[in-house]
Amino acid sequence: MADNQFEEDSMSVAERMAAEALIVDVDGFEGPLDVLLTLSRTQKVDLRKISVLQLAQQYLGFIERAKALRIELAADYLVMAAWLAFLKSRLLLPPDPTEEGPSGEDLAAHLAFQLERLQAMRDAAARLMARDRLGRDFFARGQAEDVTRIRTVKYNATLLDLMQGYARIRTRDEFRPFVMDRDSVFTMEQALERMRPLIGFAGTWTDLTTYMPDGWDGDPVRLRSATAATFAASLELVKEGQLEIRQAETFAPIQLRRKGDSS
């Protein structure tokens, strides 16, 4: 695919101009890899057969000239230069068997792969942008008809909600949390004490949260404690055979019901 898609004929002129521009217009490049890719075009070969050594030299030359012109180079250009200098030495010197790490050939092959991959992505981008496009070559409905949304809201409440609501008013305890010794801890004993009388009314499946004590839902610490205690208490009541408990799936609401015909 990336075979010979660049216009090779105009290359010499374009390349010479690019080489000039390289120095003047560092800003126009999208980083060191982009510069390397541009430089690689002077070799006029398949990116797979590119001479990385030659490329490294070209790049180092480019950096030198930029320095001479006192052009400020971003750090990554200099990092690349250092890395290419290292690569160059590895490629030129005979391999040292005592030395650890990848060979110069491996590093060079990887750089060639990176360049080829970047070029492939550029070609792909160009092909993508050249496709027939919505709003330019093909069109959506100009006069879309809106879907009228008819939204019905169904409100729900249980008898327990109703009674708790009434009890709340009659006792005016709305804003008074329970008075506790440890005021952020709701014990399982307390939860049990609270739930035992309530479960008589739980003939149908009722959400565990409806058994939560009033005034414990604000502060997350208290909410956690109350939830844990209420849940533990419901398990206790299930164990005692007074309640049934169910949960449709993980994280689904936990529901409770008075055990069938007990007493």
Partner: protein
């Protein structure tokens, strides 16, 4: 349409107009993509020279007869519109279940326990004013309705619960609602009253009083 011959006969112009089938495609695409109805004139201005948009429209219109959309005449112009019998598809109904607000539950509870009850009485019991929205919502849900007017000054309207309410909560009548004594026994009233409001230890008086008061509320 009886003019199949016509397309082929248009050979006198230097640049032939596209075949009629092609013109039909063009009209179709333009009508589809245009944000507004398009006139024949506008169609022809867009189409290649020598096209007969009026003819293409006639054919296109015929093609769409009985389809899900139709080519219709809008004033001087043409547009594609949904067939009128399919208008129902352009509506989306959604049902959402929501928990009744606390204010609504409390208001409802007071009406259930104290019916017939006036708005002023509800406010007195709740200790806060009752918003119009809350009452409207309960009325709309058909859980409460207006009862007879009170024979007190101003003849205020009262609220009572409806058969739908009883049905929803599985009650035979409002008297089946657990009384305060039972609520207390069930632990729903066990919370201590706020300091100052009702002294502790008066619990029994309190109970008596409520026990006495409540039947009266349900008497009619």
């Amino acid at each position: 349409m009886t003019d199949e011959t016509r397309d082929e006969s248009d050979t006198d112009s230097l640049f032939d107009a596209p075949p009629m089938a092609e013109q039909e495609r063009m009209v179709e695409a333009v009508l589809f993509a245009s944000a507004e109805p398009v006139t024949v004139r506008d169609l022809e201005a867009r189409m290649p020279h020598g096209c007969d948009a009026a003819e293409a429209l006639v054919r296109l219109r015929k093609r769409y007869e009985g389809r899900g959309v139709r080519v219709v005449h809008v004033g001087e112009a043409w547009a594609i519109r949904t067939a009128p019998d399919l208008g129902f598809l352009m509506q989306k109904e959604t049902v959402e279940t929501r928990k009744l607000s606390r204010a609504a539950i409390e208001t409802l509870a007071i009406i259930a326990y104290h019916q017939p009850v006036t708005r002023a009485e509800i406010e007195e019991i709740r200790g806060v004013s009752v918003s119009r929205g809350t009452v409207d919502q309960l009325l709309e849900m058909e859980w409460i309705r207006f009862g007879r007017r009170k024979m007190t000054p101003g003849r205020p309207v009262t609220f009572v619960v409806t058969p739908e309410f009883l049905d929803h909560f599985g009650l035979e009548n409002a008297r089946d609602l657990p009384g305060l004594k039972e609520l207390r026994a069930a632990g729903l009233l066990e919370n201590r009253p706020p300091p100052g409001a009702l002294a502790l230890g008066e619990a029994e008086d309190d109970e008596d009083q409520i026990g006495a008061g409540q039947p009266e509320l349900f008497e009619d």
